[in-house]
Every structure is written in C-alpha cells, then in structure tokens.
Symmetry: C2
Subunit: 351 residues, 2 copies
C-alpha cells in the first residue's frame, strides 16, 4: 500500500492506494450508521466488498450513472433517504463511484445536519487522480457546472487500482486527461515519464498505474495543502477547465466526458499560450500528441464556435471583478493564471 | 451605535446595533455586485434604505414570507437568479428580513460557487438576538427543521432597532422567547433585569431594546467564539428547541411561530428538569410567568400527545450514538446537555 497525506491541520487525511481496498481505521470501520452512495454500474461490482469494510452492515442508495444526475434533485433524493432512515449527525457517508458520486456525496456530507463525516472510494481514474482529493464538492446547475457546492474534506480516500480493470476504455482515457494536466501545469519531468510509460499505462500495468496515481495525488495534495479554498495556486488545477466546462455544458452534460472536454480545453489553452509567444508551435503539437496517444480528442466539437463558449466562460467561477481569468502555460510544465484575456483575443485565436 | 465582536480568528465580524442602519465599511459598500434577498413584507419598508448603503445599485429577489418557504426550492430559486444575472464569486449577498431570509441567504452564500460573502440585516427581534449571529444557516426538510445547511459566518451583522416598530406584536413576542432563553440558560441576573424592565420592553423603548439586544448578542457571540460548530457548549442554545422543533413540524411550519414553539419547549424542559429534582415547582411557575408576561404560549397544542413528538425528536441533530439529548436546566440560569432521557421518562412527565 502507498499512502499520501493531505496536510490540512485538523482536517488532514490519508489517501491509501493499493491493488485492493485498504482496511479502514477503527474510528470509521466501527461507525454505527454508514450509508454507501453509489450507482447501478459500480454497485454490482464493488458494493459487497466495500460493505465488508464496516462492522455494522451499511445501508446504500443508488443514483443513476452519469454527469446528468449530478443535480440538486439527486442531492435532495439522498438527503431524504438519510432522513427517512433516521440517520444522525454521527453517520458516515461513503462515496463509491466516480467523480459524480464523489462530488454529490461530498456535498451531501457538507450539508446534512450542517456536516457529517464521509469517505471517498473513487472507482474511476479521473476521480482517483483528481476529484476525490482536495474537498471540492458540488452539483451542476443548467447554467453552469459545479456552481452549487462546498469545500468539504473527506475523512480518508481509499483507492484500489483493481477497480480500473472494470472501467470502460473511454473513461480510462478521460482520466488520463487529468493525469496529463498535472504534468503540463507543474512537472515537465512527469511528462517525460508519461511519454516513456505510455505503453504500460495503456496496458494498465498495476504497478505503473499505482505509481502514476500516487504521483498525481501527491501533486494535488501539495497544492491543496498550500491553498485549500483556491485563493491562488489551486486555480492552476483548472488548466483546460474553463474551455472544457463550456464544451461539457454546451454539448449537454454527459455527452462529452469531463476528461475529454478538458483535453480539448488544454489544447485551446496551449494555443492561446502560443499566440502570446509563451509556447512554440512544437509545444502545442506535443500537447496534442500526448493527449492523442491516450485516445483523447484534441479538436473543438464541430457544432461549437468560439461565440458558444462565451456565456459559459463569463459565469466561470474564476471570473473576478468582471474579468475572465484563464490558466495558460508560460512553458510546458509551468502554468499561470492570466486575467487580461479579452473576447477580441479569443476571437483572433479561435474565430 | 453599540458594537459586539464575534471572535472567530479570520472569520471574526462585528454586530452593529443602532436605531437606524449603521454605515458599511468600504470593502462592502463598494462591492461591484450586490444582491439583496428579502420578502414582500419587508422589502417595501426597508429595501430602499438598505440599497442606499451600497455605491452600486444592488439587484434584489423576493422570497415569499414565512417558514414554509425556507426550503430547497427557495434555495434553488435564488441560485438560479444569481446565475441568470451572471453573479461572480465576488458577489455580496444581503439577507434583509427575519430568520427565514437570514438562514436561506446564508445557506445560498455558503454554496454559491462554493462560498461568497454575505451580510445579515435582521429585521425581526428573533433574528436580531439569535439567528443572524453565529453562522448557522439552513433550510427545512419535510422530515425535519434545519436538516440541510452549513456553518457560514457573515461579514457583518447590521441591526436597526427601528425595524421593530413595524414588526407585528405576535412576532415581537416570539422574539422575546429567545431573549428569555438566554437568561434561563446562562444568566440569572439578566432574568431579573428582564422582569424589572418588562414594561419598557413591551412598550418597545428604543434604549431598553438596544441594551437587551446587545446583551443577547454578546452572550451568543461569546458562546459561538468558544464553540463555533457545536461540539459542546453551543448546544445549550438549543434550550427548548428539541420540543419546539417537534411542535413546529407537527403543526406545520409557519402555523406556530418558532419563538412560540420554543416558549412551550422551554416550559417542557423546565418540567422535565423539575421531575429530576433540579428545579422547584416555583421555578417552573416563574418560567411560565415570564413567558406569559411577554404574551407567549406555555402549553402544548391540544392536538399533540407526547407520542407525536417522538419521531421528530429521534431525528433531532443532537441525537448521538442513537441517544436523544436534551438541554435541561440544572438551575434557573444554568443549562446542561443531558443524554439519559428515555422515552419512558418522557411518557411519565408528559403522558
């Protein structure tokens, strides 16, 4: 087992990465009331194994699979289930699934009786390397992704690489977009490592995957420890996300996977960076190439013009004092937050 | 102007109590985006005055008046309004109204884009002495009051005693229940003061009211500073609330005012305390008398048996390890949290 610690004072917690589900500390395993929140795809595969981690038999509730169900309606469904089953403030909620289940469960854990404990057991690559770590929780609104949420840290994150064997390859690729993101925004050496190991990664070699996941979790844990509520540095984790969120929202949540949209978003961020002379054309080409090597899209959907991006980007959470802010690349492996991108510049680059 | 400081480190804030609306600091007055959340009863009276506190003209949205509208549906209505009007993470939300508006606005402020600034401008006595201070925010669920919420501290609380001149007398009395609560739970000398000044209070003498409100805010601020998230002492502020919430929920939110239900709840807590030999019959009689002197009910509604209380009390947020917990009085002016009350004892006292 490999362990990464997220250092947040009293709210610190471990991420345990193993080839199966690591055992829980007694404080969680012996909880009187446990509710597992999962979906009909993941539950048949892992619900029994996860239930067995607890001494008392947990209850469970399934939410339909997919980004389209990361809504206030699902949030309310879970809250009603908790109340109907007389769950107290001692309850431990368990998110068993991908990013949708994790974000939704975390937001419920933040709000149920003003806050209860929860555990992240991410079963997709994307949630293992990104959304399960750092305490961002949210649901979507028709007018914007993740617009309703809270910062709520889990008690622990349990990652089993074995869950990736049952993940559809399209979902695996989508997770790789976030892996590549870490390399692009802050670790050029990791980009080389990814290029060198791309074959083992695509073949899903367990040791290689565990090493890769550990590296991403460590990078994210370090950033989150320094900037939990995204006052500065943490915003860099949004590389590719401003454009990506617009693609997801415009195409209808769930039609494009989050990672696919982020992959295209990172190419757009690279193109904008190149337009400013920060990246070379070769750099942009290599961003495209590595994403393609993991089976990811690199072109804006045919249906979308830059004008279609604008309404979404104007309500992006990074907007400050009326000004859109973008994460661009000052070099490969080095991101920075930029506040002077204008609509005119976007038209020039993408129009 | 009188000022009470709520000491919470980086989240500290002042409560300004005056006969009008005190001026705002520049950091709030100059906000680019301001949204006032109010109701159709309060807005015609005070919206213009409050809007004038800001340099840019604020937007506003009105939510129907009453506890019945402190719901997830209203929460969603406000969130949609903020997104439709492209409000960014810089927005300042202003709660202008009573506890319903304050709790709802605070919960929106906690969740919109994972947290934005907000200002409490309570216009009822109850919200001035209680709900606007301390950062508890929530909405109700059909299965329980305040079951969905967050701890979210405001930037500032602005209290104008002038708003009490437009408050219906029934609402004023309901607020007095919370005032009496402070005396019963922690300050016997304040109970004497209330008895001595009951005439001036009922006549709403501005100086007396300001002094009374300041005293309550100071008591609450002190308790909240020591125990923000209710790990211990803060639970004492729930004196009368376990029974009271059951009355409110059973009778249908809004039919009994919160303060009226709490008044009866405090009498029940006193009776239970007397059954344990902690209070004398005279003590219970004087609890009844002071509540009645402010026009408050002191008897359980005719429609309710103790059995009707049970389902609500079993899902109370104070339930821990399956055990109901009650705030009882070990003496007049001294509350304590008790975990060994059984259904049998409740039947014996109230059956």
């Amino acid at each position: 087992m490999q362990r990464v610690e997220v250092q947040l004072g009293q709210r610190s917690y471990p991420i345990d990465i193993d080839t199966g589900f690591a055992a829980l500390p007694a404080s969680l395993a012996s909880a009187r009331q446990v509710v597992i929140i999962s979906n009909p795809t993941v539950a048949p595969l892992y619900l029994d194994q996860v239930s067995a981690l607890f001494s008392a038999p947990p209850l469970h509730i399934l939410i339909n699979d997919g980004e389209a169900f990361k809504t206030l309606a699902s949030f309310e469904t879970i809250l009603s289930f908790l109340l109907e089953n007389s769950m107290s403030r001692d309850v431990v909620l368990v998110a068993l699934g991908g990013g949708v289940i994790g974000d939704l469960t975390g937001f419920v854990a933040a709000c149920y009786q003003r806050g209860v404990r929860f555990l992240q057991i991410p079963t997709t690559l994307l949630s293992q390397v990104d959304s399960s770590v750092g305490g961002k929780t949210a649901v979507n609104h028709p007018l914007g992704k993740n617009m309703i949420g809270a910062f709520k840290q889990p008690e622990q994150v349990i990652i089993s690489t074995a869950t990736l064997t049952t993940l559809p390859s399209r979902e695996f690729a989508a997770g790789m977009a976030e892996v590549v993101k870490y390399a692009l925004l802050g670790d050029a050496a990791f980009l080389d490592w990814l290029l060198k190991h791309s074959e083992q990664i695509c073949q899903q070699q367990p040791e290689t995957l565990a090493q890769m996941i550990r590296h991403c979790c460590q990078m994210k844990a370090d950033i989150v420890s320094r900037d939990e509520t995204e006052q500065g540095e943490r915003a860099l984790l949004n590389l590719g996300h401003t454009f990506g969120h617009a693609i997801e929202a415009f195409m209808g949540y769930g039609n494009w996977l989050h990672g696919e949209a982020v992959a295209v978003g990172m190419v757009m961020a690279a193109e904008l960076s190149a337009h400013r002379g920060w990246l070379s054309k070769q750099d942009v080409a290599s961003v495209r190439r590595i994403l393609q090597s993991f089976g990811l899209p690199v072109a804006v959907p045919d249906q979308m013009q830059i004008a279609n991006f604008m309404p979404f980007m104007k309500t992006d959470k990074k907007v400050k004092d009326g000004q859109m802010r973008f994460v661009l690349l000052s070099a490969i492996g080095q991101a920075s937050l930029v506040a002077d991108v204008t609509e005119a510049e976007l038209l020039q680059v993408f129009g």
